[in-house]
């Protein structure tokens, strides 16, 4: 019997990671500091006002964006969080989710557009996305910790990596779904590529792109507990603490707060997409 030599895939990845650590340390440091700063600013700003004031402000905002029912539900949910004494943890989590989502969108939307521009990019991107989505999310934690140490930033980076794929996919899908004849019409009137993109393709793909953004936020929230394992803090660590101490009450309350946040963010982003759809009909 021939014994095939073991292909050292794990070793290769290790080598790459080590090389990056040695040579790109400055970059990682910079990224870390920038992200930390942004998250802290959002956090501090929110915490500097009394929670009840925040609840009222969010109530008004949601009412303006959607309808009074959703706004009322939102206000009630937020009050419940405050009442459970999870306000600070929730704000931490929210800041993290917001920054992670924004980063994921900043990279995901242009990447999604890029996949529609070139077949090569499409062919390279799709298997990577498959990999990113099927890989257990814990695995992202390892390089994240190696590059960025423990704390909020590696948790956030892992979240971005995990949440970005649907954004790329749905952006690409939305743009590819725009009827060929419309793009042709735009071309026939002498549009530049940029004009075609901004005046026809993106506006028409917007409902689908919004669905991608929604997915992105939901996935970010689902990473909260996992990110807490490497010290990202927030509601995730409440849940983790609950688990490790077998404290059912604490664990459940933390989980409930996450669900409330997810519902609020979901309703806000979804209603925006729906509003546009109605306008188009």
């Amino acid at each position: 019997m021939v014994v095939l030599p073991k292909i050292p895939i794990g070793l290769w990845v290790e080598i790459i990671v080590e090389w990056a650590q040695d040579n790109l340390g400055v970059v990682f440091d910079l990224v870390t500091r920038m992200i930390e700063k942004t998250v802290t600013v959002i956090e501090q700003a929110t915490l500097s006002v009394h929670p009840i004031v925040v609840v009222i402000l969010v109530f008004a905002l949601v009412w303006f964006l959607t309808n009074w029912k959703t706004a009322l539900g939102t206000a009630f949910g937020l009050y419940l969080i405050y009442n459970m004494e999870l306000w600070k943890a929730s704000v931490e989590t929210l800041s993290l989710v917001i920054v992670a989502t924004v980063l994921a969108l900043l990279m995901g939307v242009p990447l999604g557009i890029l996949t529609t521009r070139s077949n090569l990019v499409h062919k390279i991107t799709m298997p990577i996305l498959d990999l990113m989505q099927t890989m257990p999310s814990f695995v992202y934690l390892i390089p994240a910790v190696l590059f960025f140490g423990l704390g909020q930033v590696p948790g956030l980076i892992a979240t971005v990596v995990f949440a970005m794929p649907p954004c790329i996919r749905l952006t690409g899908l939305g743009i590819r779904q725009v009827p060929v004849e419309l793009v042709e019409a735009a071309t026939a009137f002498g549009s530049t590529e940029w004009q075609k993109l901004t005046k026809v393709q993106i506006p028409l793909a917007l409902p689908t792109i919004m669905a991608g953004i929604n997915q992105c936020i939901m996935l970010s929230l689902s990473m909260v507990v996992i990110a807490a394992m490497i010290g990202a803090g927030g509601l995730g660590s409440e849940v983790l603490a609950g688990i490790s101490r077998l404290d059912i009450a604490k664990g459940f309350e933390g989980g409930l707060a996450i669900v409330i946040m997810a519902m609020i963010l979901d309703r806000i982003t979804q209603s925006y997409g729906e509003k546009r759809k109605i306008k188009q009909v």
């Binding site: 009827p179 004849e181 419309l182 042709e184 019409a185 735009a186 071309t187 026939a188 009137f189 002498g190 549009s191 530049t192 004009q195 005046k199 026809v200 506006p203 028409l204 188009q280 009909v281």
Partner: protein, 400 residues
């Protein structure tokens, strides 16, 4: 004067046209080339010219290459070889910037499925061409609104396209194409998606617009009826090539080969269909005692440039022309008898179309239909006569 001259145009779909091109030159068939080289021949060896202000119709069966040819003219499809001179410039050689400018200013397009932008209001659809040229908001609103008025859609500016009927949507499409005042209009089966009545209405509207605007129009259709109605000249396509180019009469009376003959097979109807069934009512007419001003007013009302003169009991006397009438008015004369042309073509009610066509082709007047006692019964105009031959539903009914 020729505005568009197309020479030796070839379009082969696929990555490796060289081999296919060689086989084409050797006279291989499209299907054989597809089988051997996996390349599709779209159009091949296309030569034609279009005059300024002309309505040029590309006609042919499905898959004959009409759309491909039309899209080569503004390079929505990149031609494989050949030249397309537009006002003396070969647009195949135009650089991207130049090409965009040509598309913005010179050539516009109207699409079969309308291709209106669903997220923009009617006004903003029409203004699109101006918007991408960087025309100011105020100016483009003004121009777009003007254009909407021309196509009869004032009041619909702020509607969304989906709120409009098909015919109205295509009016928007037409307005959008006309707003930057292009010289050339490409129309790919622009009216095919409309139901027959609306379609006819749009054809007439296009013709009346064309009367005032004088664009060079290239119109793709697979409907012989439509081609005869609106085309000054017609090119018949088959299997990627143009098989015959000419006026409607030339093609109908002188088909160059079997294919064309089959295409216009309804011509047989011309032996059966008589003047009576294609003539229009004998109005307006003037009587001998009417002055030139009355005649001119009637002509203006009906948008015609000549008018028949009849006696009190409607017997045909002759025809008077607008230029003569105007001269009379200027010279302050009153009696139109002096300017009546009496030697005009006349046919009977039962004259078959086939005998009418040569007459219509020769004369510059409308043809009068009279009874034995010389009473005026009807008037024949070219479009209606030609259309009368294919009324049954154009080539769909006859060839397919």
């Amino acid at each position: 004067m020729s505005q568009i001259i197309v020479k030796d145009l070839v379009k082969i779909f696929g990555d490796h046209p060289e081999e296919a091109l060689k086989m084409l030159r050797e006279g291989c068939s499209k299907s054989k080339i597809l089988e051997k080289t996996r390349q599709t021949v779209g159009v091949f060896d296309i030569n034609f010219h279009v005059n300024k202000g002309e309505v040029f119709v590309l006609m042919g069966l499905s898959g004959s290459g009409k759309s491909t040819l039309l899209r080569c003219l503004n390079r929505l499809i990149e031609p494989t070889s050949g030249t397309i001179d537009i006002d003396g410039q070969d647009i195949i050689k135009a650089k991207p910037d130049m090409l965009r400018e040509i598309r913005q200013k010179k050539i516009s397009m109207v699409f079969q499925g309308f291709a209106l932008f669903p997220h923009r209001t009617v006004l903003h659809n029409v203004a699109y061409g101006l918007e991408i040229q960087g025309v100011s908001l105020e100016k483009r609103r003004e121009k777009a609104a003007q254009m909407l008025e021309v196509v009869g859609l004032q009041g619909w500016e702020d509607s969304m396209p989906s709120q409009l009927s098909g015919g109205m949507q295509q009016r928007v499409g037409l307005a959008r194409a006309l707003v930057n005042d292009p010289d050339i209009l490409l129309m790919d089966e622009a009216f095919s998606a409309l139901d027959p009545l609306i379609r006819k209405e749009m054809q007439e509207e296009l013709l009346s617009l064309q009367n005032t605007m004088n664009k060079t129009i290239i119109f793709v259709t697979h409907d012989l009826d439509e081609a005869l109605r609106i085309g000054d000249r017609i090119a018949l396509m088959n299997d990627g090539a143009i098989v015959q180019t000419g006026t409607a009469e030339e093609i109908l009376t002188n088909p160059s080969d079997d294919y064309v003959e089959k295409f216009v097979a309804d011509v047989d109807r011309s032996k059966v269909v008589t003047a009576e069934s294609v003539m229009k009512a004998p109005t307006p007419v003037v009587s001998l005692k009417d002055g030139p001003r009355v005649a001119l007013r009637l002509m203006k009302e009906h948008g015609i440039s000549s008018i028949f003169v009849v006696t009190k009991d409607r017997k045909l006397v002759g025809i008077v022309l607008v230029e003569d009438l105007i001269q009379m008015v200027n010279e302050q004369k009153e009696n139109i008898i002096d300017i009546i042309h009496q030697d005009i073509p006349k046919v009977n009610m039962d004259t078959p179309i086939i005998d009418i066509i040569p007459i219509i082709a020769e004369t510059r007047f409308p043809v009068a239909v009279t009874r034995e006692d010389n009473r005026l019964m009807g008037i024949l105009v070219k479009g209606a006569v030609l259309a009368g031959m294919v009324r049954k539903g154009g080539m769909n009914g006859s060839v397919a």
